[in-house]
Symmetry: C2
Subunit: 492 residues, 2 copies
């Protein structure tokens, strides 16, 4: 056996001995792997985690670890802040957010189990303050907990579900939720006697002649070790945005214009192993993409303009919905600008755009940036006239963000691929049951193989409906499901 | 062996005897399979085709068999009609048409080999008249040959490549090119002594322990037969739009709103077999979709309007580019209308839309169809004022389609999913080298497995850049490549 092809399992007959045996082998110790390990251990399984890095954390530790939760009358924090969230509102919101890509079964499970998930996380020792962060923000930089993190108050979402804040931030100052969350999860994993192998690069799965996954090959201290996983292997290896070639191959529209975010091991290795073992891949073209155009929230008073000098979105939506639509505009032109009154323009900011021009008259601005003068002038005046009445008849932006744009007027160039800070990560991956079993294209289970987190195509499936906290919500919730499922697997 | 899972090969060790042996086993006798068979036979291989239907044809026979060809100074027909087409123009056009999804290697091969491909097809006995069909149409209903079938003359395509008509229609009256093309191909296949098994449903591939494809299992006359393919199996089984569940699963945005076109055996079976054998799938979310809004060409004088009462595309583009953009509009509203002067509106037509309202004043139209009155009025007047000067500063529609829209004004509702005839088929599939070898996710070849046509992700990869003739161009050109490649495979 000279070379191991990562996408195809090694054959059982080529394995001479097992160096290590365990019930459940989890690959990856981020949010998904950690929560899966806790749940599997609590169900009585003997669990081993293999983490390629020198420490736990994964991309969850690099995030804010904000989690999108609610329903069932509201989490403790929601209720303390005066919000009574319903499961149906949560469900309806998530269904519209995912649109054509919605997985109803997954969304139903998540909505109905969200309150319990909150309590479980609190039970781990994750601290949430009973307070609300009232600014429009990506993440609370105070130790406050609750904030609106998606499109809840924006059209058309507010028409299908009563708006409610569902982003839960940890009680910690600054954007430090991720490290704290993963420290807590790690402590809980350790306390359960889970074996953890760091600096352990899983090279390939091991399958028998029927395709059943029996274990894996891992490199530890330069040695290849054969691990027998009696109940199954659970891939929690993250997405593939750090594998630029792979990202561009499957999701070029975003990958060609965005900087990947995540940890360096989001290289798609687990997705490839799962596919090689017979797993089906779903929505590999889908990526989260965003341009953090707030904070400051005041940028929401601006309007976004394409090459035709037209608006194309209500500017009060979540920043990823904006970024996805900005990219879409490139089809019929090569310009996306934020037009904003200078009193609402703040620097420094994370937008990454630069003021292309500023002036007192929209006609002059239009000429400077080479957009159709009469059409941009119409757009601008039409917006201003309606905004003065608190109305946006075209895109239904909320009244709180409607004010006529007054001189000095600035045009900020955020044309994707040219200006502006666009960042993203992948949302496509292995196709699984909500309970984690990896599926073939026939809808059959690959026996012994489970997956969770961004190695899978999970609950959040498109930037247009993303909200902060949806990915960590997905990886922790469905990580637990998968961990519980593999622990109960009957074998032999 | 009770059941055969179509996505996983049967093991060689379970095969007790070979009922039939051949060098090359081709699955599917449409355009791709037929051209592959001719080429493989011409390279000296012993070839067998297995076709599930009772006759050859596939979806190519149901199409117009229009083929997109040019470059190299022009085909015989292009030159006879006064067009001097360059390879670089063809290449640049195709690259822009495919945008982010462009496969440069495939497009380069196609552009450089297109002229030879035309001559090869003529050599088969396919008749093309040295004449041009000058109307804006999907297909020539006369026996004329050459017509513009894509976005060549439309912005922004005309800015990167000198416009040239490249759609080649067969010399036959009416839309009867497909049957004639496939009759010719079938005659050529038969004349080469290729064995053809009709009513032959291929059930699964056969692989050895290393994953090499050695043959297939086919059901003929109710019996399972084991076929040994000494050089390889070539999947030419078509796409998957006729498998509604599969289409909706991978490509819901189109599948939820369009009627599938193709033959009933476009069920994805070959794609699933290839994936189960280790093949990678690419761009499974991509579908061709169209609304045949011309002919009559006069509809091009209208403007397309979304829920904001804004235009969003130059209306002189190919109908698939329009359809894809119509669907995109649904994100911020639930309305797409064609606004057109009644003198340009002709019935019957294939648009499938109905006149929602008609009148003398755009303001009244806007109220009737519940669109923002002032914005639609601006759009309409702005368009008309510029059209009177032969200009379209927003979307650069060609001057020949620019006339002020005069009363009586009609609003035709073509909101996707509600009104209008939207049809489509799949463009994603097995990932292959341009020479047909099926690839794993690692970029390795699956030994012995080849594919061509809509079972693969070929040259045309998105509706936004599609042009009539690109799919039959792709399946015949790369079908030949694959047939030649497998015939030359060194084995043993």
């Amino acid at each position: 056996m000279s070379q191991i092809s990562p996408t195809h399992p090694r054959k059982l007959e080529d394995i001479d001995e097992w160096h290590l045996e365990t019930d459940v082998a989890i690959v990856g110790f981020g949010g998904a792997g950690g929560c899966a390990a806790i749940e599997a251990a609590d169900q009585g399984a003997d669990v081993t985690i293999f983490e390629v890095a020198a420490a736990s954390g994964g991309s969850t530790a690099l995030s804010s670890a904000e989690i999108y939760m609610g329903g069932g009358g509201g989490t403790r924090v929601q209720r303390a802040c005066g919000y009574e969230d319903s499961t149906e509102d949560l469900f309806n919101y998530l269904m519209l957010a995912q649109g054509d890509l919605a997985d109803e079964e997954r969304i139903r499970l998540y909505s109905e189990g969200s309150l319990d998930h909150f309590n479980w996380i609190v039970g781990l020792g994750v601290p949430y303050k009973d307070s609300e962060y009232k600014n429009k923000a990506i993440v609370a930089l105070t130790d406050d907990c609750l904030l609106y993190t998606g499109n809840e108050k924006a059209w058309p979402f507010r028409d299908v579900a009563k708006p409610c804040p569902r982003g839960h931030n940890l009680e910690v100052e600054g954007d430090n939720g991720g490290p704290m969350f993963m420290e807590t999860v790690t402590r809980q994993v350790e306390s359960r006697g889970v074996r953890i192998e760091y600096n352990a690069r899983v090279l390939t799965l091991i399958a028998d002649e029927h395709g059943e996954i029996l274990g894996l090959v891992v490199r530890i201290d330069g040695e290849q070790r054969h691990v027998r996983a009696r109940k199954g292997v659970l891939l929690a290896t993250g997405g593939f945005s750090m594998n630029r070639e792979m990202w561009r191959h499957y999701s070029p529209k975003v990958a060609n214009r965005a900087i990947p975010i995540g940890n360096p091991f989001d290289d798609g290795g687990g997705i490839r192993m799962g596919q090689g073992a017979g797993g089906s891949l779903l929505h590999m073209n889908q990526s989260f993409v965003t341009i953090p155009y707030y904070p400051p929230a005041s940028h929401t008073f601006g309007i976004l303009i394409n090459a035709q000098g037209q608006r194309f979105i209500n500017e009060d939506v979540y920043h990823a919905r904006i970024a996805a639509n900005n990219i879409q505009q490139l089809q019929t032109g090569n310009a996306v600008y934020l037009i904003i009154g200078e009193r609402h323009w703040e620097q420094p900011n994370m937008l990454g755009g630069e003021i292309a021009t500023a002036g007192d008259k929209i006609e002059e601005i239009a000429e400077e940036i080479d957009l159709p003068v009469d059409n941009l002038t119409h757009t601008f005046n039409h917006y201003n006239e309606n905004a003065a009445r608190g109305e946006d008849p075209l895109f239904h932006k909320q009244a709180e963000w409607l004010e006529p744009i007054e001189p000095t007027i600035a045009a900020v160039n955020i044309t994707p691929g040219q200006h502006g800070l666009y960042v993203g990560f992948t949302l496509g991956g292995l196709e699984t049951r909500p309970t984690g079993e990896v599926l073939t294209m026939d809808g059959d289970v690959v026996p012994g193989l489970y997956a969770a987190g961004r190695a899978t195509c999970g609950l959040p499936r498109r930037a247009e409906g993303y909200g902060s906290g949806m990915s960590v919500g997905d990886v922790t919730f469905f990580g637990r499901k998968a961990g519980g499922q593999v622990a109960h697997r009957k074998t032999g």
